[in-house]
Amino acid sequence: MPAGPHQLDGHRVAARLGAALSGIVTRATDEWVEVAPERVQEALRWLRDSQEFDAAQLSNLTAVDRHTSFEVVYHLQSLDLNHQVVVKAIVADHEAPSLPSAYPVYKGALLQEREVYDLMGIRFADHPDLRRLFLWEGYPGHPLRKDFLGIGGGRTSGLGRFPNEDPANRDRMMNAGNLTSQDMPPEAGGHGSAMASGGH
């Protein structure tokens, strides 16, 4: 698996974290450790303060919409020991997702959680200033959700306006290793041949 060069094995983190805070780990893989979402702040604080992991910096915080649940992903960095710990929290409630804020542990979560709230609609309890970051108050919905605009899989009808991007042609284009110009619709000839020569 494409683990980072200094990324710690999730099983190792899970063993130590689970021993210190019982019942907090829900799953572990080679790459990350999954913790109970309502206890994520506790897990982050332990990882930050533990001598073994020394996760001093929250280098990245983001979320992934899995259609029925949300994954909130924390990339933690130890600057002294030069390793990375990846923590995930699976929020099962897709309608009104919520979990504790990382801000009391890492001040660097301030804007990152606002971004996730804005674009994914995940609420972070006890965040000091949870407002939208990029969009304006009153904006309908959260655009990075897969069901945004109510179209399955997050596909939006307005985006497929390039000649070779409509759904019927899409798979054919994606599968073609060496397209020739006669494979392209006539109105897209010029663009099509550029794509066929490697897209450069």
């Binding site: 280098s59 990245n60 992934v64 992903v73 969009l135 945004f148 073609a176």
Partner: protein
Amino acid sequence: MTTSHNPTNAAATEPYVLNIGPQHPSTHGVFRLRVVMDGEVIRDLDMIVGYLHRSMEKLAEERTYTQNIPFTDRADYLAAMSNNLGVCLAVERLAGVEVPERASYLRVIFAELQRIASHAMANGTLVSDAGAWQTPLLYMFREREKILDLFEMTCGARLTTNYMRIGGVSFDPPPEFWPALQELMDEMPTRIDEYASLVQDSEIFLARTRNVGVISAADAINGSLVGPALRGSGVPWDLRKAEPYCVYDRMNFEVPVGRHGDVYDRFMVRLEETRQSVEIIKQAMAQIPDGPHKTDIPLALRPPVGEVYGRVEGPRGELGFYLVSDGTPAPYRFHIRAPSLINLSLLREMAVGVSLPDAVVALGSLDIVVGDIDR
């Protein structure tokens, strides 16, 4: 406010709200600050961003990995090469694509040229913010222009380069590139000395930047600061050393750090980093082998199901790409960890209690790029 109606305290002031931006020279782009002032002193500060939000992360979910490279140019538009490099390295790790050695060297050369150009811009505008109107900025633009000429010579674009490709780079530089690069690298050290002499010993610049916008090392780490903002506070953290990518492990260079964590230290860290970049480019020029500059990858690359957090040390610090693949040619999730946005985490704490001109200089020293903040 009761104090202002108190006849015995006629000089008391009432707090008032000051809007700076969205269009203002000190905000370096379309960025708005809403400041509550009490006389000369800032009592509260709120930043309003999003004027440049183009929803790149959503758009990316509709496009192939290669089609997403040009978007990254437009995220941090002052460091397009570094953004290209970050996304290409992340996709390559996700899909297991090997890069020819020559391409890795070319990537290092262009990423370091971009760092010099970006730092010149950052330091030039910071000096402008500190009151030395446009002269130092234009001095620093002189060398930046030459770097952009080199970009144009190689890939046809100056700003939004779209130069890196998954598996290599799009073009080998033309023959006239190498003498021009050599000439620039020969004159750069003198030029950097010249910049330094313009401001380093200027009493006004020192008064405006020393002990202003101080961030302690512990705060910088906890606040997720990266790049020169973190190193200015004395933390020697550089991903080119900590997690070497491309051929940085073969390069001999130093990581400059500050001591006090003030605006001056961040300025000096950037200035010293340009010197180190020149050294890296010289070494890369001496070592670069012949060979292909890219490997061929399928037009519709389908990385295996999985995820990757790839990152590079961009001019503004850790630039991360968190990609989730579901096995189709388009990413399931495409997140950019933007250093410009996250470096602002401590802005309010830096600004509250200081005067407005100091806050402007502190903001300038964080080197924000609004395209990178908003994406």
